[in-house]
Structures are given as C-alpha cells and as structure tokens.
C-alpha cells in the first residue's frame, strides 16, 4: 500500500474517533437531555415507578439530594409523551423539590424558596464593559460569562444568593443579590498583583516574595500562534533568553534556546534543563497548546535546586489543568500557508553561460531563445524546488475540562499537519493529554499528568536528506535541465532535484513519546506535607530511508535501491520525595523543603540496511537481498541521584531570605569526583513596605530589591568519558575474508568532573501608577569554571580525546522588562518590551593557552569568535598587486581579487607578507550580544490585536560554499554576485564581490571580513487580529464564546544580510550546503468554547 494513503487513513480514523468523542460529550449535555422525548406508560403511577421508566428510557440515573420527596406519591393528572424537561417539571409540580441535570444524572434538589432571574453589566473602573467575566451563583453550578457589552443574565437564582464575579487580573468580587433583579458590578484591577503565583523549582511562590530571577510567560502569550514546536514559543517574550530558529524543516524546526548567554563551549552544551510538570524532558515534547505557564529560572538562586544540570538555566513548563465547574469544551484551530522568508535569486542560463565562459555565442543564443529547452534550458532549480509543496499547515486542538469540589480533569487532543514548501514533505503530530487532580481526603491529594504524542515525518530524498537536496539545488546552474521532453532528466553529478523529487526515494521518521507522572501529597500535620512522585518518560522512534533505483538517462542510473531502518528507544525514570513545612510565628514566616530524587536513563538503538529490492514499492527489510545486509546497534546509560533542600524565611513580608542546596551524584564521573554540592543564597527587601516609603511615596505600588549568589553544575557530557575503551568495527580483509578488528580510538580523561557555574544577580522590581507601569531590571555576572573541553590536540596524538576540565567563561549582562497598560479612549492598550545585553568572554582555555584557532576560542573574546584575515577591498590592477604586501593566495592577474591586510609579522610589525600566522585575528562573532522583543496588544469591543516583535543583534555570520561563492565547485551564480562583482571595465576596489572567474576553490576565499556580514535582525514574529462574535449571536448556537482570528508568524524581517538569505537560518560555511529555509506563515482560525 502506498505510504501516503496509509497515513491519510490513520488520520481519518483518528479524526473519526475525535468526532465521536465530541458528539458523545455533547449528548450528555443537560440542554440536549432535557429535550429527550419520554413516554410514561401505565395508570396510577407513583413517582418511583415513573422515575424507573425515565431511568430506563434515558439511560440516566436519578439521584436524591433532597430526601424529603416521597417516592410513593401518586401522580396526579395525566402524563404521557413529552420532553424529559417538561415531564420532570410536571412530576415534581406538587412537591417541594426541583431537579437539575448533571451529566448523566438527574438530581432531585430542594425547591428554592423564590427563584428569579438576574441580569446586569460588568465594567472596569473606567466604566468600560468587560467581556468574558465569569459570573457564578455561589455554591451552585449556575453561572455564565459576560458578552461583548459586558452584560450577563442568569435564570433560576434563589434568593438569598451571592454572585461571585471573577476575571484574570482583576480582584474577584462577591455580591449579595438581595431582592434585586438587576445589578451592575464594577471590577477593580488586581493592582497589587499580590496573589500572582510563579512556578519555581519543586513548588510555587508568590511573585512578590521571589528573591531569585525568574522570567515568566503565560498561555495568553502563546495562544493561537502557529507554533509548531514549543521551543519557538519563547522568542521575543522573555528577557535574558536568546531564541533562534535555524531551520524550517517540518518536524525539525524547533528553536535553539540560550539563557543568559553561552556559559560553556564544551560538549556539555548550552541547552537549559527543561522540566515538564516537574519531569525532565525535551521542550519540544510538549504541545504548545497545552502550556499554561513557562518559568525561566535564570539565576543560581532559583536554579540551584536543580544542581548539576542547571548551569544553563532551567525552564519549567506547567501544562493546563482542569478547574472545578461544569464541563467546558474548547476547540481551537487554524489553517494557513507557509512560504520561505527569503529566496536567493540566480542568474538565467544565458547570463550564467556568458559569465562562466567556455560557451559559444550560438550556444548562449540558444539558451536565450529557449528553442531547445532540453539541451539549452533555463531552470531555476532552487526556486522551483521550494515551491513544489503547498506549505499548507493546520492545527486542531480540543480540550475538555471540568470537575467538582474534589476532582478536576482536563483532557486534550491535538492535531498538527505541516506541509513544507517542498512537495512530499509532511509532518504530522497527534497529541493527547490528561491531567487529573483529586482531593482524596482533606489532607491527601493526588495529581496525575499523562501526555503523549505520535509524530510522523515524510520527506523526499536524494542521495542524502531533503535538506541536502535543497543545498545542492543552490549549486545547480540554470543551464542544467530538469525533466526533458523525452522523459529523461538533467543532472550535475548526483544532484538533480527534479529527478529525485520524482523518484520513489523517501525519508520517513516516526516517533512516539509518553511522559507520565503521578504525585501524592499528604499533609501529615498542619503545615507539614510529605509527597512522593514517580515519573516516566519513554520515547521510541523508527526512521526509514529508502533510496530507489533511478534512471536519469541512458548514461546514468542510480542504484541499486536500498533501505536503511534505524529504530531505538530511550527511557528516563524519575523517583522523587519531598517534605515541606510551613510555619508562621508572629511576623516570622518559614518554609522548609527537603527532597530526594533519582533518575536513571537508558537508550538503545538498532540500525539495519539491505539493498537490491525487487522493485521500488517494497519498504521492509525482508524484501531486500541478503548479500549486502548490515546491522548495527548500541546503547548507553546514565544515572543521577540527588538530595536537596530549601529554606525560605521572611519577616513581615518585608525582608525575604532564601537558601538552597543540592547534593548531586552522577554515573558519568569517576568515583572520587562523583558527588558535588551546589548551594545558593538570596535575599529581598520590599522597600515599598517600609513606612517611610509608604507614607512619602505612595505612588510607588511596589519596590523590591533582590540579590542572589549561587553555584550550578553541568554534567551533560558523554556517558563514559573516564573509562578506557577500545572501539570495535575496525575490520580488515585477509585472503578475501573479513577479519574483525578493534582499535583504541579515544584517550579518556580519568579525572573528569563537572563544570561549575557561579552566578551573582542583583535585581529591582517596581511598579507605579497603580501598577499600570511595572519594570524589572536585573544585572548578572555568571562565571563557568572547569569547562569540559575537548581541547585542541595535535593530530600527532593519533586519537580522539575526551573532555578535560580546563576552561573558564564569563557572561555579564543586564535585562529589562517593562510592562505598561492603559486605555486610550475605550481601547485597552498593552505594551511590554524586553531587552537583554550579554557580554560573553572566554577567560581561560587551560594550559595557559591563549587561543584555540581550530575551535574558534580566544581568551578575552566571546565564544563563537570568527578568526580570519581583514580584507582591504580588492586589488585594482597588477601594479596594485605588486606594490601591496604579498598575499597568501595567488591573486588574479590584473586585479579583482581580495586584498588581505598585512597586520603583523615575526617582529610584531607588518612584514610585507600576509600569512596565516601573523595576519589573522578575531574579526567578528556569531553569538548575539543583544536580544530583544516587544508585545503590543490592543482590545476594543470585540476586536483584539497583538503584535510580537523579536530581534537579535550584535553578531555576524560568514557564508561559504555554494551560498557565498559564484561558480564554486561547478556551482551557480547569484544576482548580487553578478551585479556587484569587480570587473575590468569597472575595477571598483570596494565592489561587494571579487572578479568573477570560471572556477573557484574554497581556499581562495579563506575566512575574512570580506565574506562576513552583520546578521542582526528585527522580525515581526507574530501578528494577530481577532474578533469575538457578540454573545447575542453566539448564544443562538449555544456557544459560550466564539472568536475568529488571523495570525501570521515570521511576517517581515529587517536586516542587512546577504540578499535572499535569512540571517536567522543556520548555514554551514564549510563545503556542506545542507539547509532548510525557515518559513513565514499566514493563518486563519477560530476559537470556540461551550
């Protein structure tokens, strides 16, 4: 069976199931149930017998809350066929009881003394109508939300009753109705924000009491954005966090996240630790729709409770949970189309032939007139390839949530379908989640989180991955044909995107992920809680690469066909216990936390391949020949055990202290270096609580000074760095028979230990103008020591090397977050910009080494330094060449080649000779210094608008290979190169491109300022315009809320990079051109809630 069809079927089945569940839940809705037809049979019926019949006919059960009802009461009058609602009303007419429908239960309740309707309008302090405010009759399920005009209406309200009115960001209000039928309510903004709670390590804390540096992002900032991977979500939203998306490849288009700069240059990496509902995972494992909040723990005070993995900061993600109340169903979707953000432009074939040389005028004319497209074509390979796909993307997300006093749940289903701009490239993801909370007893609580996804990526394939095909489409000149009229294909070596796209070759990657956790917490005595948690993360994957046989033309056939299957799984088991104690003695508040956790990880993989399949429609190994079958497999393990604790103390909410410590042991280090202690301390002073400020500067709503210091670790290196191992598989053949061989391939470091990062932070939070304007400023100084570093070793060693604790890196910087909201007329406006500046510096490389050119590391320079020659324009002519310092590369005769500066020489002064030893220096840096973002929102009546800007600045990128050099290795030429090149007619020494010659070798263009560009950019990351349909209309469809919106991602960017190339996209400067352009997307969608 065709693969695509199989996928479509799977999807169809899942959609059907989702629909079925949807209908099922709808049918249990009270509204529908009431309209069900009932026929009561018999005479002289009692209530009991009538109820029995109703139970039978409706499949519902009748429960009693009011036991005063006499079931043997005879029914007076006649009841025959009618709607259930009317039947029940009729039956209970002469009783003191009423009924309500809860799910599949008809509950007999006490009849209220007086029942009436109540309506009103809810406005804010400025008198502006508030939409979506929740209004609930206290102690009942009877509730509603306000419409676009701020109006609400409730029926069947008993008297006396109290209304509870609540809205996020506003102080909740309880109002006794008394005898009124109309009531207008004004809600005050929760200006003090006193109750705002932030998720921190192993718990939550009131934001007002935080002494560490924690950035937060809420679900509201992420809603309805066409985010395909959760890692993209943080871009532009949090200060101190640098987010960049290097690839648009569906399924692999996540962003790279760095918190407070690059702390290390080691294999331990700069990725933050991510915990999803308290369990370690990959940020892209979580469905962006499921995120309730993201906390970014930036300093050591907040992160040190995660010890040896926290050096790069910690990201805590909490997923949405159910809330008590009636069942709420919400459905969100969007559909949209992607296109590449930037596309380089290449020369037409006749222009190519003219510039390249070696073509006769007659041939060039043929290219131009297009009369013989088979032999003299003009095919823009890259542009064509990047428009073969629809770019269609859609997402559907369905949530069911609800609960009662003791239990609540949220069940979610999601589907994402992402088609790339290259045909046959499709990524699909199904998500499923269930969060369940239960108060088993007054002092015993259960929390369960289950999350899973299934992913399926299909890609076309050439001799390599799709992104290699895109890379080589850059290389192919327009003079090479695509499909010819006789059905054969044009090609350059093995590169022929059109041909490969039509072949049966494919990549299919499938993975399934499960993350589940269960936590029980038991309040032993008041204030003392013991909890245990077990979590399990499991991931498995099967990747298939199929390479078909393919006939390009009579001369070239690719084959034999082959299949490569790679599958594996990995699991992480977490066990954790916590003991927490809260105590208040007078004005002294204490919280003490002690905990234990252990994690063990194991992964295994297998890979197998065969070739010579009988045809190109069989994609299982057994169908292939056994002659060239291969199998590989391996695995690895690590384990971590930790003890940790925290003490919080505050005096009168004014003076805040916190201390954390974690004691970690890891299998990755030898016994004597196995355990490490990671402490931190922090303090806060809420100046605004001091009488002198309260009395003299009451316009200051909040002002808090924070200081912190702590130590963190990074153990994220290979699993067995300290063990001497001999690699297998170094086989050889003797006498025609394979002889197994082994070899010492790596020199281990028997004394390896973790990297240690110390962070100091000083911060100020304040808000003024009744909290309309709030601001957080942080300055930090972060130093990483003992950096695990596979330092450059001379090849004379003949071995790979393990990592050594050698280096030191420092990051200093500051972060500012502003929040301002106000009204302009009746338009609510919000502006929240953030800005971070980070100065990164390599302090030490070990062994007194001042530079490691091979790794681009230089003491005193940032990580990611670019080292090369300084270009001094282009040579004008022979005389210029002769009079200038001698060059390391032979310049073209007559000028036009790059002129590199003579910086120094053996005696420390220019020596008239440009060479690699004395004339290269640090010329730039690929690590951004600035990252910034801003959110702008505006709401007016039903309309809402939001704009998210994101930018990175203060860094450079080099381009190389086919992207930067015209005619490189048989490659193409871009418009900017042709138009900007040095020519003999116009020997401009400042031309943007050197003289164009027929063939280019990489070594002629070594790393230099010439091919380096400022890569800073400012991007309109997201633009959203929505409209909430007025309640009056939505109510007709029995919906609580209906919003339609447009949302666009990556819409525009401002930059000074190479024409046609997006600076955010990752490109290799080496001779390896793989890449997948990032995309912009325009989407339209709806949010429905009922």
């Amino acid at each position: 069976m065709n693969l695509i069809t199989q996928n479509q079927m799977n999807r169809l089945q899942l959609l059907t199931k989702m629909l079925f569940l949807f209908i099922f839940i709808l049918s249990t809705q009270a509204g529908r149930a009431q309209n069900q037809k009932i026929t009561l049979v018999g005479t002289d019926l009692t209530l009991r017998s009538a109820f029995n019949q109703i139970e039978k006919q409706t499949q519902m059960t009748i429960d009693y809350e009011d036991f005063s009802l006499d079931p043997n009461k005879k029914i007076s009058g006649t009841v025959s066929t009618d709607k259930l609602g009317d039947v029940m009303t009729q039956l209970l007419k002469e009783t003191n009881c009423n009924y309500i429908i809860r799910g599949s239960h008809i509950v007999i309740t006490s009849r209220p003394k007086i029942s009436k309707g109540i309506s009103g309008t809810i406005t804010d302090e400025k008198g502006i109508a508030m939409i979506g405010v929740s209004v609930l009759v206290k102690g009942t399920q009877n509730g509603t939300i306000t419409d676009v005009n701020g109006k609400f209406m409730l029926d069947n309200v008993n008297s006396p009753s109290t209304l509870t009115v609540s809205y996020i960001g506003y102080l909740s209000k309880s109002i006794a109705i008394g005898g009124k039928t109309k009531i207008d309510i004004i809600l005050a903004e929760d200006t003090k924000a006193l109750d705002e709670v932030v998720v921190v390590g192993y718990g939550t804390q009131k934001k007002i009491n935080l002494t560490g540096s924690v950035g937060t992002v809420s679900a509201k900032d992420l809603e309805n954005r066409p985010i395909t991977q959760a890692s993209q979500a943080l871009a532009g939203l949090a200060s101190g966090v640098t987010v960049s998306q290097g690839s648009g490849r569906p399924g692999a288009d996540g962003s790279d996240i760095k918190i407070r700069g690059l702390g290390t240059f080691s294999g331990a990496g700069t990725s933050p630790l991510v915990l999803i509902d308290g369990l370690a995972g990959d940020i892209n494992d979580v469905d962006p729709n499921a995120i309730k909040s993201i906390s970014v723990l930036k300093d050591a005070a907040s992160a040190s409770i995660y010890g040896t993995r926290a050096a790069n900061g910690v990201i805590l993600i909490e997923t949405k949970r159910g809330e008590k109340g009636k069942l709420q169903v919400s459905y969100n979707n969007y559909v949209g189309w992607q296109k590449v953000t930037e596309l380089p432009q290449f020369l037409d074939s006749w222009e190519y032939a003219t510039l390249k040389g070696g073509y006769t005028d007659a041939q060039i004319a043929k290219y131009k007139d297009g009369s013989d497209p088979d032999n003299y074509p003009n095919v823009p390979h890259l542009k064509n390839l990047l428009s073969t796909g629809s770019g269609f993307q859609t997402s559907h997300n369905l949530n069911f949530s609800g609960g009662d006093e003791n239990n609540s749940y949220l069940f979610s289903l999601g589907y994402l379908d992402q088609n790339y701009v290259v045909a046959k490239d499709k990524f699909e993801q199904y998500n499923l989640g269930l969060n369940f909370d239960s108060k088993i007893k007054e002092n015993l609580r259960l929390k369960v989180d289950l999350k899973g996804y299934s992913r399926n990526t299909n890609e076309p394939r050439s001799t390599g991955d799709m992104n290699a095909m895109i890379g080589f489409a850059v290389r192919e000149p327009n003079t090479i044909a695509g499909k010819k009229s006789d059905g054969t294909w044009g090609y350059q070596d093995d590169y022929a995107p059109e041909a490969w796209m039509s072949s049966e070759s494919f990549t299919n990657n499938r993975s399934k992920n499960f993350l589940g956790g269960m936590e029980l917490s038991w309040e032993l005595i008041k204030g003392l809680t013991l909890s245990g948690k077990a979590g399990y993360k499991y991931n498995n994957y099967t990747n298939k690469w199929y390479q078909s046989t393919f006939v390009f033309d009579a001369n070239k056939t690719y084959g034999p066909n082959s299949l490569n299957v790679n599958s594996g799984d990995n699991s992480l088991l977490t066990l954790q216990s916590l003991l927490q104690y809260n105590k208040k003695i007078g004005k002294h508040n204490f919280t003490v936390l002690a905990g234990y956790s252990q994690e063990s990880y194991k992964e295994e993989w297998n890979q197998a391949s065969r070739d010579n399949f009988p045809n190109d429609a069989l994609y299982e190994l057994n169908a292939g020949a056994m002659t060239n079958m291969q199998a590989y497999g391996s695995g690895s393990e690590w384990a971590l055990r930790s003890y940790f604790g925290r003490i919080n103390y505050d005096f009168d909410g004014k003076y805040l202290f916190e201390a954390n410590a974690r004691y970690d042991g890891t299998s990755r280090f030898p016994k004597n270096n196995r355990w490490g202690l990671f402490p931190s301390v922090s303090a806060g002073w809420r100046i605004s609580e001091e009488p002198f400020l309260k009395e003299n500067a009451s316009w200051i709503n909040n002002m808090k000074l924070r200081v912190s210091w702590g130590k963190l670790g990074n153990q994220n290196i290979s699993s067995y760095p300290y063990q001497f191992v001999l690699g297998t598989g170094y086989n050889y053949t003797f006498g025609g028979t394979l002889a197994s061989g082994i070899k010492l391939a790596q020199l281990p470091n028997t004394d390896v230990r973790w990297e240690t990062t110390a962070v100091s932070d000083i911060g100020l939070d304040f808000s003024i103008l009744k909290d309309q304007l709030s601001m957080t400023i942080d300055y930090f100084n972060k130093t990483t020591n003992d950096i695990l570093y596979p330092k450059s070793v001379s090849m004379v060693l003949g071995l790979g090397t393990a990592e050594y604790n050698a280096g030191e890196v420092n990051n200093k910087g500051f972060e500012v977050v502003l929040n301002y909201h106000t009204y302009i007329g009746k338009v609510k406006i919000g502006v929240s910009p953030n800005f971070s500046y980070i100065k990164n510096k390599v302090v030490k490389l070990g062994d007194g080494l001042q530079q490691d050119i091979g790794k681009g590391l230089f003491v005193g320079q940032p990580i990611g330094a670019i080292y090369g020659y300084v270009a001094d324009g282009l040579f004008k002519n022979d005389a210029d060449i002769a009079s200038y310092a001698s060059q390391p590369y032979t310049p073209y005769v007559g000028g036009g080649s790059i002129r590199y500066k003579d910086i120094s020489g053996p005696d420390g002064v220019p020596d008239g000779k440009v060479d690699a030893t004395y004339d290269r220096k640090v010329i730039g840096c690929t690590t951004p210094k600035y990252s910034y973002g801003a959110t702008l929102t505006a709401d007016y009546k039903g309309f809402d608008f939001s704009l998210l800007l994101q930018g990175l600045g203060g860094y450079q990128e080099q381009m190389g290979s086919y992207m930067a050099f015209a005619f490189y290795n048989g490659g193409n030429i871009q418009r900017w190169q042709a138009d900007g090149a040095w020519t003999t007619a116009n020997p401009n020494p400042n031309a943007v491109y050197p003289k164009i010659t027929g063939g280019v070798n990489m070594s002629e263009y070594p790393t230099s300022t010439f091919f380096m560009k400022n890569a800073s950019f400012l991007r309109v990351k997201n633009l959203q315009v929505g409209y909430t349909i007025p309640k009056g209309i939505t109510k007709k469809f029995k919906l609580d809320n209906l919003r339609i919106f447009y949302s666009g991602q990556n819409l525009f960017s401002f930059n000074h990079f190479y024409t046609g190339w997006d600076p955010e996209m990752y490109q290799n400067t080496g001779d390896s051109p793989s890449f997948s352009p990032i995309t912009a997307i325009n989407t339209f969608g709806v949010n429905i809630r009922f």
């Binding site: 003791n406 239960s438 088993i440 015993l444 245990g532 033309d553 001369n555 070239k556 056939t557 084959g559 216990s577 234990y596 956790s597 295994e604 060239n628 695995g635 690895s636 393990e637 055990r641 299998s667 699993s719 001497f724 191992v725 001999l726 690699g727 297998t728 170094y730 086989n731 050889y732 053949t733 003797f734 006498g735 025609g736 394979l738 002889a739 061989g741 082994i742 070899k743 010492l744 020199l747 450059s792 090849m795 004379v796 060693l797 003949g798 071995l799 062994d847 530079q851 490691d852 050119i853 091979g854 390391p888 590369y889 032979t890 690699a916 030893t917 048989g970 027929g998 063939g999 070798n1001």
Partner: protein
C-alpha cells in the same frame, strides 16, 4: 464510589513511592555502575591471541569504522594514490584539489596536506598502542614476533612517507599524552629514515617469505624489503638499494604476470605480482575509487582527466618514442602505440568498456561531452575499470596494489644504473624487458646500455607502467625534476587535424586541446609539503618548512 476506589489503592501507591524514594535511596550504589554497552574495556583486553589478532586488524584498517574508504589522503588507499599521480602532473582532478599541491598555491592551510598528516599519525598510534601492549599477551612466540614485525613494517612505511613528503616530522614511538602530543618537536628527516630503515630490516628478518591463502594481504618479508628499497632509493643509497632488491629477486617469490589490463581487476586480486596491497571486500569493506575514475557514461563521476603529456610518453609498438617512430601518424596519434596506453587512458571514440565506445562529442547529449567541465581533457582513466564488476561503484571489493614486482625489477635496474655499475643485456632482460615484455604488453626489448639514454628509458618505463598507481610523484621528487615537469602548459585530447582553422576550443599547433598553465611548482619550496597550520596553531614547537 470513586472515592472508595481511591481510598483502597492510593495508600498502597503512596507507600511504594515513599519506599522507592526515601528508603531505597540510602544504600545501593550500583545505580552509578554504568559501563559502555558496545565497546571493549581496556582492562579486560590484551589477554589472548585472539585479542592480538583483533588489534592487528585494527592496524591494517586505515579508516574510520563507519566510513569505509570515504575519506582520502593517506599513503595506502586507492583514491589517495590516484590523487598523488594528479599532483605529479599526469592529469587533472575535477575539483582541482590535488592539482593545488603543485600549482604554486600550496599553503599550510591546505586540507589534503593536513589529512595526510593526521591519517598517518592515526595509524602510527594504532601501531604504537599494539606494540606497547603485545607483551602482555601470552601466545605462541613465533606468531607473536611475526605480528610485531608486521606492525613495525606498517609504521615504518608511514614514517618513510611522512619524512619523504614533509621532511622533518615528529618521530613518535609510543602512545602520547595530550601534553606530549602538543609539544613534540620535529625529528630530522635523516633520523626518521634511519629509524624506519632499522625497523624494516629487523622486521624483514622476522617475516615469512610467503603466506597461506587465508593470510593473503598480510605483510611478508618481500613487502618490508620493497618498502626498504623505496626508502634507500629516496636516500640515493644505490648500493644498499641494489642489495635489497636483489634479495627480493633472489627469493624468487614473485613473478611478472602475463596480463596487464586484467591484472587490476578483482578476479586477479590475488596474484604473485602484488607485493604490498590494500585489501577490500565487497559489502563489508569497500573501496570507492571506481566511482571517481569511471566516466559519467558508465555511472562514474569522471573525476580525473589525464593530460596529453602522459599520453605522449607511451611509445609506439616498435619501441620508439612518437617523435622518432615511423609508425606514428600525427593524424591518428593513438594507433600503433604501447598497449598500456589503452589500458591506462580511456581515449574518446576509441576506448571501449563492456563493448561500448567512450565518446565525448560536445554537440551530442553525451554524458561526458567535451567542455562540460573546463578541467576535462577529454581523456579519462581506463586502468582499474573492471569488466567483471557490475555492482555499485562505491561498493567495490578489488584489492589495490601499492607495490608490484614490476617496481622491484625497474627499481633494481635503476639502482644498478645509478650506482655506477655497468649495465649489460642480461640485466636488461632480467628487469625492464620482463616488465615490458609480458605477454599482454609485448613491447620490443630494450637494448641500450648507455647510462644517459637508459636513464631516460627507465624513467619513461616507470611512468607508463605505473600510471595512476601513485608512484609518479615519488619518482619526480627524488629525481629532482618536479620543478621542470610541473611547470608549463598542459594539454588534453586531440580535437582537430586542422588546427589552423579550428576555433571552437583553444588548440595547439598539433590540434590538441590547450588546458592552460595548470602547474607552477615552486622550486626550492614545493619539494616538501608545509607542516599543517592547524598543527602549528596548537604546538608552537613545530617549525615550518622553507617558503611556507
């Protein structure tokens, strides 16, 4: 109901959690006891003979375990050896990489040079590690001493080459620490060669003359001596070289195979002419050079293009060079030539493979059409194109000769000649005439004994006999003629017999395609390769060769 269920089960779960979490935490430290799951620990290795055999294979194996032959640039692998002939000016490479070594632009950041350096030290380290540990193993002493001699020979071959191409190089005889590796100094070339010479002599004495079929490919006495001969010739120790080569000849273990074209095919990979080989096997340890060699019309990449300067050196069938032979027809220059021409160079409209004629017509749709790449000469390599192989060109299992007996005979003659000994017809018949007289070549016997004339003949014979086998660069460097032969304009195929009226492509007076001045060997500089800049960036003790 619900609550009842939870009431019963939850406390149990809770107990389990607490037990796992708190109680279990105190004791068992085997949580941290994690060992590699797919590698052999050094602690348990180096015990038995089979461990020695495993480690021995690791010394022969040149490449990363997962990549087969897919990286080039060392002194053992086919792709590298063909590229060394390109450096020597026998032809051009499509991406111009080996050409760069001798076109005047060679500098210390050249990637190929640093690969030769790195790959050599990788193998040297494998050998050093073997030699450091072999004594720990209890096994048959004679088997052990043979293994040791093999590994010492492999290492000596690396050192001979390293010192030949780089001059002074670090001479490493044990597994270094990082600190040592980063501070080593260069040993004088003479010391390195003296070391290699001793190693080879001692090894030769310990090695067997021949091997059983199952051990074919393992180093023999002949191989160690043939390497020694190359070294002695490079040192111009002619008398010593004569003695070394004479030992090989007198041992009477090798022959000149009557075949020539087929000699380089997989079917004949085990034959008595091959002395030192790199060994391959389809599907399990493949070589990839065929992918590079074959023209595009036979699914190759047509990576290499022979120059006409090589073609011209093949004599006519009468044994005379083309400038004097009456058999030479300048309008049909490829007729009546040494059969080794067609067996080495694929000539358009003439060379055949699997019955199909190789064509390069620029106006047709030919895959190899002339002019498709500016560096294409029209010629392609025909040597090693294996009629018997129909598989994937990157999955070829044919062994590759590094040293053949033909080299021993020609080197013996050259050493005799250069040592000043008188040359007689008997010597010629025992050496050069055996090589050119093999049945498949059958060129007339050489009868000239005049040293000056004979020197020219021997040198020409080496060029045509060993084309594409990686020997030419060694030869022109030690003859000191690199600057002379690697300087000037190079040519491709014959495009016209009427050059005066031909305008499509540039041609010379005889109608051969002019490829331009593609080499500019810097005399006094390029005789040695530069020490890689990346190495000098790390190790300040490494000096640079003159001129870089």
């Amino acid at each position: 109901m619900k609550n009842k269920y939870f009431n019963s089960i939850i406390p149990k779960i809770w107990i389990v959690l607490v037990l796992l979490g708190v109680v279990n935490s105190g004791c068992n430290d085997n949580l941290f006891d994690k060992q590699p799951l797919d590698s052999v620990s050094d602690a348990t290795f180096w015990k038995t003979e089979s461990d020695a055999t495993l480690a021995l294979s690791g010394c022969y194996r040149s490449r990363n375990k997962d990549w087969g032959e897919w990286t080039s640039d060392d002194f053992w692998t086919p792709w590298s050896l063909v590229q060394m002939d390109i450096m020597a000016g026998n032809g051009a490479e499509k991406e111009g990489n080996p050409d760069k070594i001798t076109d005047g632009t060679l500098n210390s950041t050249n990637g190929m040079i640093s690969d030769y350096w790195g790959h050599s030290y990788k193998r040297i380290t494998a050998c050093n590690n073997f030699l450091e540990h072999i004594d720990q193993i209890t096994m048959d002493a004679s088997k052990k001493s043979i293994m040791v001699a093999e590994v010492r020979t492999i290492r000596a071959f690396e050192y001979f080459n390293m010192a030949f191409y780089f001059g002074d190089v670090p001479l490493i005889q044990k597994v270094l620490t990082v600190g040592e590796a980063n501070s080593v100094t260069r040993a004088p070339r003479a010391d390195v060669w003296a070391f290699a010479e001793t190693e080879l002599k001692e090894s030769a004495a310990a090695l067997p003359l021949t091997r059983p079929d199952a051990e074919n490919g393992r180093i023999t006495e002949g191989a160690a001596l043939a390497i020694l001969g190359r070294l002695q010739m490079a040192e111009q120790k002619w008398t010593a070289a004569v003695a070394t080569y004479k030992t090989i000849i007198d041992n009477n273990t090798y022959i000149i195979d009557p075949k020539f074209r087929e000699l380089f095919w997989e079917a004949n990979e085990q034959n008595k002419e091959f002395i030192l080989t790199s060994q391959y096997k389809e599907d399990v340890y493949q070589q990839v050079v065929l992918q590079f060699i074959y023209p595009e019309m036979f699914n190759g990449w047509h990576q290499f293009s022979p120059y006409n300067e090589l073609v011209k050196d093949f004599e006519c069938t009468d044994g005379k060079t083309i400038d004097v032979s009456p058999l030479y027809d300048k309008n049909n220059p490829y007729n009546n030539r040494d059969p080794r021409l067609d067996a080495s160079v694929l000539i358009p409209d003439r060379g055949k493979f699997r019955g199909v004629t190789y064509t390069t017509n620029p106006t047709s749709g030919d895959a190899d059409k002339f002019g498709k790449y500016p560096v294409w000469s029209g010629y392609c390599i025909s040597k090693f194109m294996d009629e018997g192989f129909n598989g994937n060109l990157m999955n070829y299992g044919g062994n590759w000769p590094i040293i053949r007996y033909a080299e021993v005979l020609l080197s013996y003659l050259e050493s005799k000649l250069e040592s000043g000994a008188t040359i007689d017809q008997t010597l010629l018949d025992q050496t050069i005439n055996k090589v050119r007289g093999r049945a498949a070549v059958n060129m007339p016997a050489v009868t000239i004994t005049d040293p000056t004339e004979l020197r020219k003949i021997v040198r020409r014979e080496r060029r045509v006999e060993f084309a594409w086998e990686g020997l030419r660069y060694y030869d022109i460097l030690r003859w000191g003629i690199a600057a002379d032969v690697l300087n000037g304009t190079y040519h491709g195929m014959k495009l016209t017999n009427d050059p005066a009226n031909y305008t499509t492509y540039p041609v010379d007076a005889e109608g051969y395609f002019v490829m331009g001045k593609t080499r500019a060997f810097k005399k006094g500089v390029n005789e040695l390769w530069p020490i890689p800049q990346s190495e000098r960036d790390i190790n300040k003790n490494l000096t640079q060769n003159t001129g870089y």
